[in-house]
């Protein structure tokens, strides 16, 4: 029953991103905060569920995020546990003029650094696929205007997380 439930908390996602397709700069940006739970399953795999809050580029609104992830930990060293994973995440765009969501597929790899018996810090470098698109709706005095906006997020991101292990 050891490692029955692992609580990963405060997964801070730093996006190395180009915020819109026409931007030139790469930014290291604090992007989302997630509370995740996971459970060890056979074959050195670990299955988890994350609930979080994704922030827009300009921090004007918050978007709830739901993530499902599976980690593979091939072996454990005393001070380092390598991790490779796959994550699906769903972000609902909570803004009046948008009507859409982001559905992401992410691959990541990194590792965890145990600090105490049941506490550690993790760092993953991730790569995500696909574009995201929003359906805008907005009214002026004469027309309701609708258009689809596609964002190409920069594929690389960095996750920093703190882990607590229930034994």
């Amino acid at each position: 029953m050891k490692r029955l439930l692992v609580l990963l908390f405060l997964v801070m996602n730093f996006n190395l991103y180009s915020s819109v397709i026409s931007d030139t700069s790469l930014n290291l940006s604090y992007d989302s905060l997630t509370l995740s739970f996971s459970k060890d399953i056979p074959f050195k795999l670990n299955l988890g569920l994350g609930l979080g809050c994704h922030f827009s580029d300009d921090f004007k609104f918050n978007d709830p995020e739901l993530g499902l992830f599976i980690n593979y930990r091939p072996f454990s060293l005393k001070y380092f546990i390598p991790v490779a994973g796959l994550k699906f995440n769903y972000i609902y765009l909570n803004e009046p003029t948008f009507n859409n969501y982001l559905l992401g597929i992410n691959f990541y790899g990194g590792g965890e650094f145990p600090i105490f018996n049941n506490f550690g810090i993790g760092l993953n470098l991730g790569y995500r696929f696909g574009e995201t698109s929003y359906l805008h709706k907005t009214d002026n005095r004469y027309f309701r205007v609708k258009y689809k906006e596609t964002h190409q997020l920069f594929p690389l991101y960095l996750d920093l997380y703190f882990k607590y292990l229930f034994k």
């Binding site: 459970k39 907005t138 004469y142 689809k148 964002h151």
Partner: protein, 238 residues
């Protein structure tokens, strides 16, 4: 726990359908098709270039030329979200739109600023290719003028060189400016007389953005004519 994960997986599978633009009966569909110059190389550093799409605005005026509303504008212009522009307000980017909108900023220009941006709802990241906009009339407006202004940064040619100085007739904002001036497409839309239209290229805007003058002679415009392939408008009838 097992049931929870099954539920989550089902949620992902069921949510894979995408929201698409839907056009109700009586709405207006605007199809903007990109031309071969829609993407323009923009030098970054060490010879590295990026693909740069153009800035544009789509707005409506009444038949007397009075500004009614902006439908869409790129966010660099609408939110003053320029990068690496060295503080240049880029008044030459879309001058016909800014003068038509006629909202003066604190610095005396008609450009939206960080303090007075346009609404988030009508700004867009510049698309990499053509796109479609839906317009649903909500006020009974049956005839209007639809305008589209488009412009590339540093789109210099021999008529609008980077070396032109302020005060020169062909000055277009200097090394961070436009080069070839913004082009204006326009059409009178009368919903009671037709159901399809195509916007006409009617001229170019002021090269330095200092006036709202529209020049019909396009002989000095070269590659900028190929930014847009066509702008077609359809009244949706089901």
């Amino acid at each position: 726990m097992k049931h929870l994960f099954v539920f989550i997986i089902l949620l992902f599978v069921l949510s894979c359908s995408s929201h698409e633009l839907a056009f109700d009966n009586g709405s207006i569909k605007v199809e903007i098709t990109e031309g071969s110059e829609w993407i323009h190389p923009y030098p970054l550093f060490l010879g590295i270039k990026k693909d740069n799409p153009p800035q544009f605005a789509l707005w409506v005026e009444d038949l007397d030329g009075n500004y009614l509303a902006t439908l869409l504008v790129t966010e660099k212009v609408g939110l003053n979200n320029w990068q690496a522009n060295g503080g240049n307000r880029r008044i030459e980017s879309l001058p016909t739109w800014t003068f038509s909108r006629n909202i003066k900023d604190n610095d005396g220009t008609y450009m939206p600023s960080n303090d007075n941006p346009v609404s988030d709802g009508i700004t867009t990241a510049t698309p990499k290719e053509g796109f479609t906009i839906g317009m649903e009339p909500i006020s009974g407006l049956r005839s209007f003028v639809l305008n589209f202004e488009v412009n590339h940064s540093i789109d210099f040619n021999k008529h609008y060189p980077e070396s032109a100085k302020p005060g020169d007739k062909n000055y277009s904002g200097g090394s961070d400016g436009s080069g070839q001036p913004a082009l204006l497409y326009s059409k009178v839309i009368d919903l009671d007389k037709s159901s399809t239209w195509e916007l006409d290229l009617i001229g170019h805007s002021s090269p330095d953005g200092s006036t709202n003058e529209i020049t019909k002679d396009l002989s000095s415009i070269t590659t900028a004519k190929k930014i847009i392939e066509s702008i077609k408008v359809f009244k949706v009838e089901q």
